[in-house]
Amino acid sequence: MKNIHFSAAIKPLLSLLLVVFFANSCQKEFLDRKPLGQLTYENFFQTADQAVQATNAVYNQFRAWDCVGLPYIGCTDIISDDSDKGSTLNDGPTVLEIDDFTFDASNSNFAAIWRGYFRVIARANVAISEIPKVDMDAGLRDRLIGESKFLRAYSYLLLAQWFGPLPIITRPLDGAEYYTQVRQPLEAVYAQIESDLLDAVAVLPEKSQYSASELGRATKGAARGLLAKFYLVKKDFVKAELYALEVINSNQYSLLTRYSDNFLPVGENGVESVFEIGAAALPTAVVGPGATPYNMVQGVRGTPNLGWGFNRPSDNLVSSYENGDPRREASVIYVGEVLPDGSTIVQDNPEIIGERYNQKAWVPAHAGLQDNGPGNIRILRYSDVLLIAAEALNENDKPADAQKYLNQVRKRARGTNNFILPDVTVTDKVQLRDRIYRERRAELAMEQQRWFDLLRWGRAASVMQAVGKTGFTTGKHELLPIPQTEIDLTEGGIVQNPMY
């Protein structure tokens, strides 16, 4: 019996021991697993295509809620005198706090814009750090890095205007650096923005040098235009003039015949577009991969039901236009108005008091629902550049040139109606400045420019007082509070703005 035991048993045991031994030596291989169907940081950035993809991913972030959703609208238009919160009384209480200047550092909208644009910066940093290591065409490589630098500079400029001094992060951080960043002086932030934009100007092609399918990528003109605006913020009017005129003299841009076309699909990437973020309602999904929340947040609420109805053009804005200025009609949707595509009449919504909407955020019927917003987000228009030029030229005591560009903008607005918007003829620096400021408001209303203009002009306090926003405290509310979580997580390494 025992023999049977043995012969029957020993063979499989032996072979098994072999297998166990084999398994042992292969164990490391057996346990080494890599993500399947997913690239990792270790094996990405090998090809030119991947370099392009990493750059595209930077643009992608601009369509995120944090960057162009309600927090962005709240901290640009609603906070200003251009608009009120809108929507129904109780909807969006944190945005109402912004409208009324009753917010504190825990208001979630500030965390959103801070987070949103720092994510742009992080994606740009990855591209800028890794693309130089890719074996690829040098021209394309430089352009891609230039695009990321432009997008990084744009984000830093927004953040600096909102929050003031900032941590300057120009490469992906290591784990040990996550909590150790501190806010750098505004001059250092400006120096970083300037250097990025100058680099971008040097390597980016003009708009006409891109093929049609690439329109929307950062251009030399966009970088110069943004530089001009940046120098206005810095009050370096000489350089502002220089770069604004470079854009004008590049002959890449002109004004559209009809002002209102700027905000319709026909105006997307048109002759007047210096920089905009592309979006599209792709037909097969509810929230397609090309959508933005921008249109939905500001869309007509009620009947027709196009969105949430935030960002109500204020009484102050509506009454600020010169008599007969057609730009008012092009900027505001009223109850009873036929929508621009003639599709339907806006009905009264009893839940909203003083119902009014931002017409510039309106989009025609599209695939999917409201959340599949297809409207490109206009960041920099040529008329903005003309007004920057006018503003800089006036400050540089060149009223005639300033008038020239100012009146170009008015002429287009006037269209064929010679009874309205006459040419500005004043030459007194102070008076002309006021006319330029007023023109900026009319031309760029509800385009998320107003708050930054007021800050730049030092007029935020007086204007807020004038429109009855008594919550505004001078010396405090010119800057938004740093999100409280940033201060908590760095254990005070990031310092709060004054008076918060």
């Binding site: 048993a9 045991l13 098994l16 993500p35 991947q50 991913a57 994606r123 591209a127 039901n305």
Partner: protein, 988 residues
């Protein structure tokens, strides 16, 4: 039930016709001692007697061919056919379950009396009592320390199980071991195939499963045939009907109209009362639904082999319309003794299931204004968007979005060989496989009910998943037994690999929605989309254990497992999980030999380390996110974007738990009363959680880091009373568990975790050090503002008006801020308990199971969501503030905002006590059934969830939550049903 009783009466009457005298003596089969008071009964008749002081009995049987049933507490019951005899002496053996009960443990079995760990067991009879597709649902209220919450009431759905509390902030599900195969779920197991379920609770029992054991282990053993047993064929079936346990009282149309007028401050509905009751949308969405099961099995064996073969068909419709579940399972368990040294065996199960998945109408059914009918006067589905675009007509969703089906095939099996070596060694090689594929099909036609409830293009989506896992375990056992001492040494090496693949595709523009056209090729190929991916993991392990019993009295166990897991980077790959345990059978001590009180008295204690590796598959890699499209050009084409959007942590490792257990087991009164009492303390260290990093870093997510600690402490108590008196056998079982759950460490930078976000933006739970996981957190309502003066004089949150909640200024700073929020209770019950009672007499069996929890809260979050003018609960209508002095507890009618912030108004008592099952069965007399070749025939009726005592105003206060931070929060879950059914079991 009535027909059964009538049938019974007739049978008894038939049986009482003739008389046959019989007598005899009943002795202890081992000692030969006379047994006093043994119950001797005639099966199926109300005739019986007890043995006297000499063990003698005498009685008159109605028929010389009756079956006599001899039962005595602490002894095995015997059923003997009289076959005309007039003298029948019987020897009874002590009951096995008391002295020699065998318990399944990891990589082996052990005598219950030798066990040093804490292991809970339930047997087939109790499992079968719950009509369910899922084994884990049958565990509810059955084992101390095992807290079972139905995942939902959806047909075919399983349960969420927490063993001795919630030990992690991540996946806290236990490991399943089905006949030796290690799995993450056991949904394929047909409950009627199960012989026993053992739950391994303490570290002495679980640490042999290393870094998968920290959440406890559920061992499922399926039925096997016995060699040398004649073939038994069983057929059992039941059929029943399910219904909602209750409806949630909602406002009717007239009440809704009245409240809408109050909301807008105008008279929109001129005469709300004229709206009447309107539509009760719960009547529209829910129904009474049938369920049925048929099981046919055969088992037996002869000399060298044994078998158990079964097939089952299970069909359950859901109480929510358009939800269906259907499953066929087949099981083959065989064992072959090839020669005296080698035994081969297999346990193989095949399951094929089909389900129809209902659309998400659980909330819209409650929210839909009752003023609408299902369809309007033109026959179209009513468009409710006047009251808000976020309201969809649930009837339309059920109509258009219910063409959603999933089919799954799964094979799980093990094949093993046991080889006896030398004298004391056994080598076992066990190969296990788990293969499944599932196919899903979803078709949504083009339709338009409203701007927000529409589908512009029809769409067919097809998905395929495949999952494959293999396990190979090689263990060597050394077993040596002396008269009263035993030693078992186990050593082994195991490897397991898992891989899953998925892909899916979709197209639009189908000629029609007919079944035969719902294939992608019938759609327009220019609209196609597809996706696909895969994942895998592997594990290699070494294990070893020593069990030593000295003189039947002193028990010792030590074990260790080393696990290498592919989830972690090389530096963190291997984990070591040891345990030690001691036990002392006091009752076996010589000094206890004279006492008659304790049949068993055992003290045991254990300590060990276990791990939890249930984290992402590749947590240490930085993953490139690939869908970050950019749009360029007038063509608006999608340009692929990809980058590192989320930072990773290369140093991730498993979570580690240490557990201490002290237990007492006793049996007294000849085994009538048994008790098991355990105290445990389990602390989990290095729990992975997302450590927040400053937003300026720009990461889309936070890296996971091993930082948190959680402690669970509590008592598990099980009591069992079982007795046979005269012809009646009855039993009572009670279990009681307590858990105190406490987070003992979080990172200083993230000293809290907020979870379960509600519609108002307030997370419903907050987890901090010193409290349990996911405690509810919000404002305390101090009352309702009665007038403007009161508003003006009180601390405020914003622009409150009369009729709004007055939140309590808990920190007394004169304003209501985030700082005034306080803890409002825990979703984790302080006590869970269950008790069951059963009685058997004259062939009738009655059993009832109760289950209850107490000391927990739930949050009615579904009532907090108001993105449109949703319907209100009836209680809100009845209690609402409509003017000064009308209410100080329920606010005025508003739509979202102030009154819908997270507050104790929405927190309710989550305690409940439920009659889980009640069964009434009747086993036909053997004398009758044997004539037609039936060994045993039983008919029964049962009810499940028939009665619940609960304070909660929703369906059932059981919400396992999507994660541990959202447990107990009612975001609208598929309600559990009550079931009434009838069935039979026949054995040939």
């Amino acid at each position: 039930m009535k027909p059964i009783f009538t049938f019974l009466l007739v049978l008894s009457a038939l049986a009482a016709q003739a008389q046959h005298r019989v007598s005899g003596t009943v002795l202890d089969a081992g000692t030969g001692e006379a047994l006093i008071g043994v119950s001797v009964a005639v099966q199926g008749a109300a005739i019986g007697a007890n043995t006297d002081l000499n063990g003698a009995y005498a009685l008159s049987a109605p028929d010389p061919n009756v079956v006599l049933v001899f039962s005595y507490t602490g002894y095995e019951k015997q059923e003997i056919s009289l076959l005309g005899r007039s003298v029948l002496d019987v020897g009874l053996s002590p009951a096995q379950n008391l002295l020699n009960e065998i318990v399944v443990i990891g990589y082996g079995t052990q005598k219950k009396s030798d066990l040093t760990g804490s292991v809970g067991t339930i047997k087939t009879k109790e499992i079968e009592r719950i009509p369910t597709a899922s084994v884990d649902q049958a565990l509810q209220g059955k084992i101390a320390g095992v807290y079972v919450t139905p995942a939902s009431g959806r047909p075919g759905e399983g349960a969420v199980i927490r063993i001795r509390g919630t030990g992690t902030l991540n996946n806290a599900n236990p490991l399943y071991v089905v006949d030796g195969m290690l799995l993450d779920d056991a949904s394929f197991v047909n409950p009627q195939d199960v012989e026993s379920i053992e739950v391994l609770k303490d570290a002495s029992a679980t640490s042999i499963y290393g870094n998968r054991g920290a959440n406890g282990v559920i061992m499922i053993t399926t039925k096997r045939g016995k060699a040398a047993e004649k073939a038994t064929i069983s057929l059992s079936s039941y059929y029943g009907s399910q219904a909602l346990t209750r409806q949630i009282p909602m406002a009717n149309a007239a009440e809704f109209g009245q409240m809408y007028n109050e909301l807008i401050g105008q008279t929109y509905f001129a005469d709300p009362a004229s709206l009447g009751t309107g539509t009760n949308w719960q009547d529209v969405a829910y129904r009474d639904a049938p369920m049925a099961s048929v099981q046919l099995s055969a088992n037996g064996g002869s000399g060298k082999y044994s078998y158990n073969v079964s097939g089952n068909y299970f069909n359950q419709s859901g109480v929510l319309r358009e939800s269906e579940f259907e499953r066929v399972t087949v099981r083959l368990n065989n064992e072959y003794q090839l020669n005296p040294a080698i035994r081969l065996g297999n346990n193989i199960a095949f399951a094929n299931s089909k389900s129809q998945n209902p659309p998400g109408v659980l909330l819209s059914t409650l929210w839909m204004p009752p003023v609408y009918a299902e369809r309007d006067s033109t026959g179209d589905f009513s468009d409710p968007t006047f009251f808000g675009t976020s309201i969809g007509n649930p009837a339309a969703d059920l109509f258009y979005k219910s063409n959603s089906h999933t089919k799954t095939n799964r094979v799980v099996g093990t094949v093993y060989a046991d080889i006896k070596l030398l004298k004391y060694f056994t080598f076992r090689s066990n190969f296990g496989l788990d293969y499944s594929n599932s196919k899903s099909r979803y078709f949504e036609p083009a339709y338009e009910v409203s701007v927000s409830q529409r589908n512009v293009n029809d769409r067919l989506e097809i998905g395929f998943n495949e999952n494959q896992s293999w396990l190979w375990e090689n263990t060597l056992n050394f077993d040596r037994e002396w008269k009263k001492s035993r030693i078992n040494v186990l050593a082994g090496y195991t490897a397991q690999e898992n891989r899953f693949d998925f892909f899916g595709a979709s197209r639009s523009n189908f000629p029609s929605g007919q079944d035969e056209l719902l294939y992608l090729n019938a759609g327009n190929d220019t609209t196609q989309l597809n996706y696909g991916g895969a994942g895998d993991w592997a594990m290699a392990s070494y294990l070893g254990r020593v069990n030593f019993t000295l003189s039947d009295r002193y028990l010792f166990t030590a074990s260790i497992r080393a696990d290498g897991s592919s989830r972690f980077s090389q530096d963190n790959r291997w984990g070591y999980f040891p345990s030690v345990a001691f036990g002392w059978n006091l009752a076996q001590e010589p000094f206890m030999a004279r006492q008659r009180v304790f049949d068993r008295l055992k003290l045991r204690t254990s300590w060990g380390v276990v791990g939890n590796d249930k984290t992402q598959l590749y947590p240490s890699f930085g993953i490139i996110q690939g869908n970050l499209y950019a749009i360029f050009g007038p063509g608006e084409s999608l340009n692929t974007g990809a980058t590192l959007a989320t930072l990773s942590n290369p140093n991730v490792r498993w979570e580690e738990a240490t557990q201490t257990d002290v237990g007492l087991e006793l049996a007294v009164l000849k085994g009538r009363l048994t008790a098991e009492i355990d105290w445990y303390n389990r602390t989990t260290y290095d729990i992975l959680y997302e450590l927040p990093i400053p937003d300026y870093v720009g990461s889309a997510g936070n890296p996971v880091v091993n930082v948190a600690d959680v402690r669970n402490q509590g008592w598990d108590i099980t009591l069992n009373w079982r007795e046979t008196r005269n012809t009646i056998t009855y039993n009572f079982t009670g279990i009681l568990s307590t858990v105190s759950n406490e987070v003992t460490q979080l990172d200083a930078r993230k000293s809290e975790v907020r979870g379960a976000g509600t519609a108002s933006g307030d997370p419903a739970t907050r987890t901090i050090v010193g409290r349990s996981i996911g405690d509810f957190y919000g404002y305390k309502v101090a009352g309702v503002f009665q007038n403007a003066d009161e508003v003006a004089a009180s601390p405020k949150l914003g622009n409150e008006k009369p009729g709004d909640f007055r939140y309590q200024d808990t920190n007394g700073d004169g304003v209501i801020t985030e700082a005034d929020k306080v803890f409002l209770g825990s979703s984790i019950p302080k006590v869970t308990y269950g008790f069951s009672a059963g009685v058997e007499f004259f062939g009738i069996d009655i059993a009832a199971d109760f289950f209850g929890v107490s000391g927990n809260k739930v949050v009615n979050a579904k009532a907090m969501s108001r993105f449109g003018v949703y319907n209100w609960e009836k209680a809100f209508y009845d209690g609402r503030w409509t003017g000064e002095g009308t209410s100080n507890t329920v606010p005025r009618v508003t739509n979202g905002g102030h009154n819908y912030r997270m507050s104790d108004f929405y927190v309710q008592d989550g305690s409940f006590l439920r009659l889980r099952t009640i069964v009434l069965g009747y086993t036909l007399p053997k004398t009758l059934t044997e004539r037609i070749g039936i060994t045993r025939a039983r008919v029964y009726g049962s009810g499940t969830n028939l009665w619940t005592k609960q304070a909660y105003t929703g369906y059932s206060p059981e919400f396992p939550g999507a994660n541990v931070f959202s447990a107990g929060v009612d975001f609208g879950s598929y309600p559990i049903a009550k079931t009434m059914l009838v069935g039979f079991d026949v054995t040939f």
